[in-house]
């Protein structure tokens, strides 16, 4: 089945207001920027955004007032600082938060991926993190019946829609990701619907001679979107490095305030992601440099 849509079509069809959105990417790598820009353009709000590390795309959604809740392991950009819009919205009580460890989030996605109501973990024990998750109704303290030692049961996380960006996908939805996959494979397998944007969309069967190398099989993919540089300004392993000046510019605005962020987003979003890329990098020289930079690293 041919699953190729435009970002506009895919997001309009599959991302609903109030949805639980599984966010792909981590920090400055392979964030689904093109898809998230489209959510912003279509102003789809009241979202619950879930992931392991949430970074740039979440902060943009929060800055645009589209997020009601997040469930995650971390919200930050590591060396480039906190997520300022998210932090402010959380501190003001506008965005509620479910804090997890990264293994706890990965475990919740794995439960969903396996069709199980929960999976156990030996993380979280003894901490306030656990107490809060129990209060939120997503963790239960239990006992291993064999050893009688305590452990924690974590409720399956099954997003309504997962958004990821990949190196390559065929039109049937077979996805190839290079570099680490963070939490994405299990998140996609757990989600009801998945939209994959990719640097390259290839004909059906393009990976059929090496099926071991398919990271996510078509069984889990609903829609496919072609978008070169679709993770910009974050990186795609072996394709292009992340754009540090862009991240720093965003963070400087984030530090300044929500108005500054909103103004920047409004001025730079454009009518399409291609349009956005032209606004930020009219000549293409920045993208060329990021490709060259990655080339020196791999």
């Amino acid at each position: 089945m041919h699953k190729l849509l435009t970002a506009t079509e895919a997001v309009a069809r599959y991302v609903e207001p109030g949805a639980v959105v599984g966010m792909g990417g981590q920090n400055i790598n392979r964030c689904p920027m093109a898809l998230v820009h489209e959510v912003i353009r279509q102003e789809i709000g009241q979202l619950t955004v879930v992931g392991c590390n949430l970074s740039l795309p979440l902060d943009m959604l929060v800055a645009c007032g589209l997020v009601a809740r997040t469930e995650q392991g971390t919200g930050n950009l590591e060396r480039y600082g906190t997520l300022f819009a998210w932090r402010r919205a959380v501190e003001r009580g506008e965005v509620s938060v479910g804090d997890h460890s990264h293994l706890a989030m990965a475990t919740r996605f794995a439960a969903g991926a396996l069709g199980l109501p929960y999976l156990p973990t030996r993380s979280l024990l003894g901490t306030d993190l656990l107490e809060d998750l129990v209060t939120a109704g997503v963790a239960v303290e239990a006992v291993d019946p064999w050893s009688n030692r305590p452990l924690v049961l974590l409720k399956a996380m099954t997003p309504d829609v997962a958004l990821i960006h990949a190196n390559r996908v065929d039109v049937s939805g077979n996805v190839v990701i290079e570099g680490v996959t963070s939490h994405e494979v299990d998140m996609v397998r757990a989600a009801r619907v998945t939209i994959v944007s990719a640097e390259e969309v290839l004909p059906a069967g393009s990976f059929a001679d090496r099926p071991e190398q398919v990271t996510i099989p078509e069984a889990y993919v609903t829609a496919v979107v072609a978008q070169p540089f679709g993770a910009f300004p974050t990186s795609v392993y072996r394709a292009y490095d992340f754009a540090e000046p862009e991240v720093k510019e965003y963070q400087a605005l984030g530090r300044a305030g929500d108005d500054e962020l909103q103004a920047w987003i409004a001025a730079n979003l454009g009518d399409s992601f291609e349009d956005h890329l032209k606004i930020r990098d009219a000549s293409g020289a920045m993208r060329e440099a990021l490709v060259a930079q990655m080339g020196r690293l791999v």
Partner: protein
């Protein structure tokens, strides 16, 4: 951020900066052959230094799913391509934190945090402002998992009073919780904690943190006045050994040549 020992510390031929000494002392906590889970920043520099000196068979695990990379200077994120280079495997968070850390194969983990309390518990979730409102921090990430499952946790940090409260405002990652025996009661395994600051080294094993060594030039008084609880001091206090010139050279020329994590250092 204030540091109680500001100037360069003379070590062999080179004048080591206080934070360089932190990294060198951090590196010393790694045993050859250890699997070590690190994020970026000083811990990664420490682990890389260990590999280049006494622990060539120490292997890095990165929570994002990178196993055993050959680090290219200087990664700024756990998904930085510089941290994926030449790896044994590019996998998933679940593989790294479930299949290696929870599985018990990673001996040593490096952690940071806004607060580290007397019982080595860590807070990276939120801290209170003076007006009582909350400052939202990044959250646990893999820290809770590392503190739950590794045998040894190493914390590299500036020594500031607000960083070392008697009790964390929120326990994100478990040290020894409320005190001796509580970790086992909660269902957690054994742990050794080593906190390395610009003033001292503190250690704990099912106990409160005990000062076991001072940084060169630091005093017990400085430690006491910059700590939010009153730590015990071991009877025979060590002085942390100065880096040798090769360690400093490696740090400056090979591991972080662009001073990404040493803005205070200007290259000659």
């Amino acid at each position: 951020m204030s540091s109680a020992v500001d100037g360069p510390v003379r070590g062999g031929d080179a004048a080591a900066l206080p934070r360089e000494l932190l990294v060198v002392e951090g590196a010393r906590q790694i045993r050859d052959g250890d699997l070590v889970i690190v994020g970026t920043g000083l811990p990664l520099l420490a682990a890389t230094l260990a590999q280049k000196t006494h622990a060539p068979e120490a292997k890095l695990v990165i929570e994002s799913g990178v196993m055993f990379p050959k680090v290219v200077p200087t990664p700024v994120s756990v998904v930085d391509p510089r941290l994926m280079h030449g790896a044994s495997r590019h996998g998933s968070l679940f593989e790294a934190l479930g299949g290696l850390v929870q599985r018990g194969l990673v001996r040593t983990g490096f952690l940071g945090g806004a607060q580290v309390d007397e019982y080595a518990n860590i807070n990276s979730t939120w801290v209170p402002r003076p007006d009582g409102s909350q400052v939202r921090l990044p959250g646990s990430g893999g820290a809770n998992d590392i503190a739950s499952h590794c045998e040894q946790v190493v914390i590299l940090t500036n020594h500031e009073k607000r960083r070392f409260p008697a009790r964390c405002d929120y326990i994100t990652s478990p040290g020894f919780l409320g005190g001796p025996g509580e970790r086992a009661k909660a269902g957690l395994g054994r742990l050794r904690v080593k906190v390395v600051t610009d003033l001292c080294v503190m250690e704990a094993e099912d106990s409160a943190l005990v000062v076991t060594a001072l940084m060169p030039g630091a005093t017990a008084e400085a430690v006491l006045s910059n700590t939010g609880f009153i730590p015990k001091f071991r009877e025979s206090l060590d002085i942390v050994a100065l880096p040798d010139p090769e360690e400093i050279r490696l740090l400056r020329e090979e591991i972080d040549p662009a001073c990404v994590y040493f803005p205070e250092r200007t290259r000659p």
